[in-house]
Amino acid sequence: MIDSMAERIGRSFSRIGAIAGNTYREAIRMRLFLLLALTGVASLAVGLFFQEFNLGSNELSFIADFGFGGMTLLGSIVAVVVTVQLLFGEIEHRSIMPLLAKPVSRGEFVLGKVLGAWLTICSFIAALTIALVTALWIRETQILAQDSEAFGGGRAVSYAGVLIFACLQCMRLAILASISAFFAAYATSSIFAIFMGFFVWIIGQLHPVISDQLAHSTGSISDLLLRLVTWLTPDMRLFDLGADVVGGPGIAGAVAAKLLLYAALYAAFYTALAAFALGKREL
């Protein structure tokens, strides 16, 4: 019985893996990846362009902020658009029909699509991270060559911190991808799903403002609704730890672990909602 259960779980993982792999392959072959790579290279070029300016010790922070901003903004756009395109496209082009006629559950399908989209997003973040680390390292080395005491005898950039930041962005974008998947599974047009994905992203960015409003709560219905919104939408600002990486204290392991758990819970919740919405949908 245990074996049979283990076998069933194994087969389920195999199907999810196959769907995720095929989704990633689609992203690569449909030129989405080319777009991502070009964005990464452009970002590197812009970072290196700042060599021409003498911005002093703030220069590395500027480049880092520029790179982190690119990851956050472009990453969010990519997460919403790519996830909707890859999931809704399958429903729209009806390639979902022969797929679900195989022994694949709708939950496995959604999970495979979200994982495939997330792999694509992570590849994008990896390209931007490589570009950013390269730009930071080149400029830091040049500054140190001119003045070895420029950063008090050490290095200014925590490269491990940059990598942790990139990983946290991947987790943050996993939430956004799963939210977009939910709307793609429910919506009848991709524009609606993309719009709603961005809408939730904006709400997530506005969490501190909403929390301020709730601090002066009078218990009215609008306040209760606002509180419900804050529970249902993730606080995306929690992941904005870029300032801690360059010239800051770095990102503590406990903070990173908490954020990983936070992202995993929200991503799981919205992926389950997406599977539920697709389960109720007439194909």
């Binding site: 196959a18 449909m30 009806r94 029909m97 022969p98 006629a101 195989k102 022994p103 559950s105 194909l283």
Partner: protein, 281 residues
């Protein structure tokens, strides 16, 4: 055990107006025995595709039930025993023919080595060996249809559901499809064939069901259906041209007529659908 058992199946789709719905399948009951080629006929909107979707677990019935090989199609183990050829090539244009068949093989949990061997054999059998590594975007409609057969057969299913396998295919391709289907029967498989190509259905199907507006108008063997309403018809063979002209004269004097050939499935189908439409007003 029947391969497919449909009992009192109804499917309603809600309309935008509150409380209103349209009935796509209306109290459909059907039994398809194993190793039978069953032709499901009907005009557009008659409920064929909805029935197929329910049989594949892609849609849930509003009422009634259906079983494939004794199991509900919601069960993954039941769907693993069904091969499905969709009515249009809903495949991934970025994949090659071989990649597509292997992808579906992986979804069916077939071991990689076996899937590779089967994919090669199926692509060869359906004349796609030379194009196996080309992207599907470059395939013709006929090639996609043959690839559809290959993907449907990768899991060596016991039941095949073929939804309009000849749609958009030229007469040569349609004849090939007919041969493929007959070949499936010799392998012991059960085939549910939805088609508009009535002459082909007449020539290859053991049993036929005619649907209109979600209702089953007639069901039975092709021979039985063709003989229905034939009481006032006579089939005369082997007469000389002189005898034939005498027979024609006699028939004309009696207010009847003599026509070449017997009743075709086309005629049966059109008569049934037309009288059903007249009945509905």
């Amino acid at each position: 055990m029947p391969a497919i058992e449909i009992s009192d199946l109804c499917k309603d789709f809600p309309l935008p107006e509150r409380g209103k719905f349209v009935r796509a399948v209306d109290q459909l009951s059907l039994t398809i025995e194993e190793n039978c080629i069953f032709g499901l006929l009907g005009p557009n909107g008659s409920g064929k595709s909805t029935t197929v979707k329910i049989l594949l677990g892609l849609s849930r019935p509003s009422r009634g039930s259906c079983k494939v090989l004794g199991q509900s199609p919601d069960a993954p183990s039941a769907r693993a025993r069904i091969g499905y050829l969709p009515d249009a090539p809903y495949y991934y244009r970025f994949l090659s023919g071989r990649e597509l068949v292997l992808y579906y093989g992986r979804l069916l949990g077939i071991e990689a080595k076996l899937a590779k061997r089967r994919a090669g054999e199926l692509l060869e059998r359906f004349g796609l060996a030379d194009a196996a590594d080309r992207k599907l975007g470059s395939y013709s409609k006929g090639m996609l249809q043959r690839l559809g057969f290959a993907q449907a057969l990768i899991g060596d299913p016991e039941v095949l559901i073929l939804d309009e396998p000849t749609a958009g295919v030229d007469p040569v391709g349609a004849a090939e499809v007919g041969e493929f289907i007959l070949d499936l029967k010799t392998q012991g498989k059960t085939v549910l064939l939805c088609s508009h190509l009535l002459s082909q259905v007449e020539s290859i199907c053991d049993q036929v069901g005619i649907l209109n507006k979600g209702r089953l108008l007639a069901e039975g063997s092709v021979a039985d259906l063709l003989s229905q309403g034939e009481a006032d018809r006579l089939s005369i063979r082997g007469v000389s041209p002189t005898a034939r002209s005498r027979i024609e004269r006699i028939a004309a004097e009696a207010g009847g007529s003599v026509e070449a050939g017997g009743r075709t499935l086309d005629e049966v189908f059109l008569d049934l659908v037309a009288s059903d439409d007249r009945f509905d007003g």
